[in-house]
């Protein structure tokens, strides 16, 4: 078996820094989110019926152009890459913005982009046209989309079998309508979506577009660990759908979505981790016990130093994954596994330390620390746990499991 190493020895290093564009984007986001997404407001929303802040999402889409970052300019998007997508995700994670960015601008957009590419292949014309049309509507922010997969789905999973094609109704064939039946539990970012992209088992498997208003489509909100990214259970009972990709192309589109999802989520985790560290450091300077700032106690200092080192490492992994994805690098699969595992671990550790080092106040409902903890833990499971991503390295890095 070939040694996984040699290839990387000669490859030029990818840029792991933040570009000026990315820094400007981050700055603009921070300004807007500081105003519209204060911790108290985020906490208050968790007890309101609308868990997602749709108005904020529209503002981010329209004013900053977040919705169309990945979409080419000819389809009305910003023509940016996963690098900018990830840089923005860090800021959204730092502010815990309750918007469907990961699901719509990340997973669904990447899925649709890959589906649209099949237009260049024979027979792929119609599906690709639907995908391209969706991308235009995503780019201008008029439509929000989600891929209907359960939260723990991850890249390279087998194609989901939760939904199947059901019997056609009269006139369906002529209108290009398919019917779907099935149920997908715990779907992230599907609640505020106008359009769902549903993978369905069949011969061949396919990827289908279902309007949120379609008859037979039901979304039931789930009481979620992550109160700022509410899941829902999606059921389809003969809901009408249009096919946007089939067979290998459907699988590739879904995988592209999940890869992008894992990388964007990793960046979001990174932003969250850094914010938890910053909050804890600030509290350590402010809170006094034993007539000293608690941040002057060496055991606290050393733990925060370790956490900072962990985040510093995770940042490199996140940047590398975004850069790989942006340049379609052959090392992308390794990079995704490294980024999602490192950033998830960093975020969970940071959020747990944040609660612990705030002491009693960090355990209360009124302090936002728990919102970060819940987001961190839930995100570490979403699109693959650290353990699942590291397991993928066995094959990718030629470290085979015991026979």
């Amino acid at each position: 078996m070939s040694n996984a190493v040699s290839a990387s020895k000669v490859r030029p290093a990818l840029d792991l820094l933040y570009s000026d564009t990315e820094q400007a984007l981050a700055g603009a986001l921070d300004d807007l989110l500081a105003q519209r997404c204060a911790p108290a407001a985020v906490l208050a929303r968790t007890e309101q019926p609308e868990a997602y802040d749709v108005a904020l999402w529209k503002a981010l889409a329209a004013e900053i152009g977040l919705a169309g970052l990945l979409i080419p300019e000819e389809l009305g998007g910003a023509g940016a890459s996963c690098r900018e997508l990830a840089a923005a995700a860090e800021r959204l994670g730092a502010h815990l913005a309750p918007v469907p960015y990961v699901g719509s601008a990340g997973v669904a957009t990447a899925t649709a982009l890959t589906a649209a590419k099949t237009a260049t292949r024979p027979g792929g014309g119609q599906e690709a046209g639907i995908a391209a049309d969706l991308l235009r509507r995503l780019a201008d922010g008029t439509v929000t989309a989600a891929v209907a997969v359960t939260a723990s789905a991850m890249p390279a999973d087998t194609f989901p079998a939760a939904v199947q094609l059901s019997g056609p109704q009269p006139g369906d064939a002529a209108a290009g309508i398919f019917r779907l039946r099935g149920r997908i539990d715990s779907v992230p970012d599907a609640l505020p979506a106008d359009v769902l992209l549903v993978p369905a088992e069949g011969v061949p498997n396919g990827l289908y577009l279902v309007e949120a208003t379609a008859p037979g489509l039901h979304r039931v909100p789930v009481t979620s660990l992550d109160m700022t990214r509410q899941l829902c259970d999606v059921s389809l009972d003969g809901a009408p759908a249009r096919q946007i990709a089939v067979g290998a192309s459907a699988a590739a589109a879904l995988d592209a979505g999940l890869v992008t999802g894992a990388v964007v989520l990793a960046a979001e985790q990174l932003g969250l981790a850094q914010r938890c560290l910053d909050m804890t450091v600030a509290y350590g300077k402010e809170r006094r016990q034993f007539a000293r700032q608690v941040g002057s106690f060496q055991a606290v200092k050393h733990r925060l130093a370790d956490l900072w080192a962990t985040i510093t490492q995770a940042r490199a992994a996140s940047r590398y994954a975004a850069a790989c994805l942006a340049s379609d690098d052959p090392d992308t699969a390794v990079a995704v596994a490294l980024a999602k595992s490192a950033c998830s671990d960093a975020a969970v550790t940071a959020a747990q330390e944040c609660v612990q080092l705030h002491g009693g106040i960090g355990f209360t409902w009124e302090h936002p620390a728990h919102l970060y903890l819940k987001r961190a833990k839930a995100s570490s499971v979403t699109f693959g746990t650290p353990g699942a991503h590291r397991a993928a390295l066995a094959g990718l890095a030629n470290l085979p499991a015991p026979a």
Binding site: T46, E47, T150, A151, S152, D185, S186, V222, T223, S224, L225, D226, M227, L231, R288, Q289, F290, A291, R292, F297, A299, V300, V348, Q352, V355, Q356, G359, G360, I361, G362, F363, T364, W365, E366, A369, H370, L373, K374, K377, A378, S380, V381, T382, T385, G387, A388, R390, A391, A401
Partner: protein, 404 residues
């Protein structure tokens, strides 16, 4: 507990006498014919409440380990028993403090209704500004005739909304160093000026309370210990908290957090991965070793060799609860992202069967409540390993001059 008291022959004689005394009591108060409250009151008055309580105050001054014989006889007779869970702080912390530090008159007033459950107690120590550094607390008690007038805010008070009495630590002299200016009281929770508000925690429920004290009048007769001796009395309370943890009953394998994890593993073969398996084996082994360490500590206490190992138990208990429940969430996969209910609840205290997410969240408190893990490590380092204390600037300065 003196060694002499535990000499085997003497213990046996004691136990025989005790069993006879219980049987005589049961003959006079047949459980089937005696109302529960009357039975419990009579049992207390007969010295058969907790036998290690003093004579005349519900006990016989016997060693703690004489109690099981008594419980056995009562159970055999189908006698009603007190509900320990209803008044954990009263029985676990207030009673030992009262026995150790209160006057005879106070013992007579407080111990009987405490033991029978008629009066629930709570503990008013922590404040928003005084957590780990308890001795820096700011609640003021000012003398006014035969009363003290108390103003301040307390937090993390379990059972405050059910309690008749609160163990209150307040500052009576701000002009002396922080440990010296404290006095200890038994506060009437129904007195005017006492306001109890639920304190909601990250699980959604409110297991604890905040207690606001506005010009509450406390009779000097309800002071425990001398004026300025509050820190000493409070330490008696806290020490008993630790003994209570250490001397509790034997625990079976997988009885705690490891049981939830192992059960999940057995129920869901389809969720198993090598990563989760290796983590589970490690945690299961640690949990089982921790159970053996608790059992060893129990044996030490029973043998009259109390050791400092209780601090290790609490430290590792918190860590394991957190790690195991974190594992459970990971193992549950998509199910681990779902919770049952975030709405604010009262009196839903620590129902660990609520599922992995609840356990994961609630266990974050295990390393904070009852002494943070950081404070425990300080205690181990300084009291067990006798490592030198850090330089401290707050020992000799009047409380009012401390930086805040």
């Amino acid at each position: 507990m003196l060694d002499e008291e535990n000499a085997p022959a003497k213990v046996l004689a004691q136990e025989t006498e005790l069993r006879e005394r219980v049987l005589a009591f049961l003959a006079d108060h047949p459980p089937a014919q005696t109302p529960r409250d009357d039975f419990l009151a009579a049992r207390f008055d007969a010295g058969l409440g907790y036998v290690h309580y003093p004579v005349g105050h519900g006990g016989l001054g016997l060693p703690r380990n004489a109690q099981p014989a008594l419980e056995e006889e009562l159970a055999k007779a189908g006698a009603p028993d007190i509900d320990v869970r209803l008044n954990v702080i009263g029985l676990g912390m207030a009673a030992p403090t009262i026995i150790a530090c209160a006057s005879e008159e106070q013992k007579s007033r407080w111990l009987r209704p405490l033991w029978t459950g008629a009066e629930v107690w709570c503990q008013l120590f922590s404040e928003p500004g005084a957590g780990s550094d308890l001795a820096s607390l700011a609640t003021r008690a000012v003398r006014d005739g035969d009363d003290w007038v108390v103003t301040g805010q307390k937090v993390w008070t379990s059972l405050a909304h059910h309690a008749k009495r609160g163990l209150l630590l307040a500052r009576t002299d701000p002009d002396v160093p922080k440990h010296a200016g404290l006095t200890y009281f038994a506060l009437d929770m129904h007195a005017p000026g006492v306001e109890v508000r639920p304190l909601r925690q990250l699980t959604g429920e409110a297991e604890f309370n905040e207690v606001f004290l506005s010009q509450v009048r406390v009779p000097d007769a309800d002071r425990i210990g001398a004026v300025g001796d509050g820190w000493k009395v409070a330490n008696a309370t806290l020490m008993n908290e630790r003994v209570a943890i250490g001397s509790s009953r034997a625990v079976a394998r997988e009885e705690g957090a490891a049981g939830f994890a192992a059960a999940a593993w057995r129920q869901h073969p389809e969720r198993r991965t090598q990563d989760l398996h290796q983590r589970l084996l490690k945690l299961w082994a640690q949990a089982e070793v921790s159970r053996l360490a608790a059992e060893r500590l129990r044996q030490q206490l029973a043998a009259g060799q109390p050791g400092p190992e209780g601090s290790a138990s609490k430290l590792i208990f918190a860590l394991l609860n957190q790690e195991l429940s974190g594992w459970e969430v990971d193992f549950a996969g998509t199910d681990g992202l779902r919770y049952d209910d975030w709405t604010m609840r009262r009196d839903a205290s620590s129902d660990y069967a609520r599922g992995p997410v609840f356990r994961y969240l609630r266990s974050r408190g295990n390393s904070i409540e009852g002494g943070t893990s950081e404070i425990l490590r300080n205690i181990i380092a300084e009291r067990v390993l006798r490592l030198p204390a850090e330089p401290r600037a707050d020992k000799d300065i009047p409380w009012k001059d401390l930086p805040r």
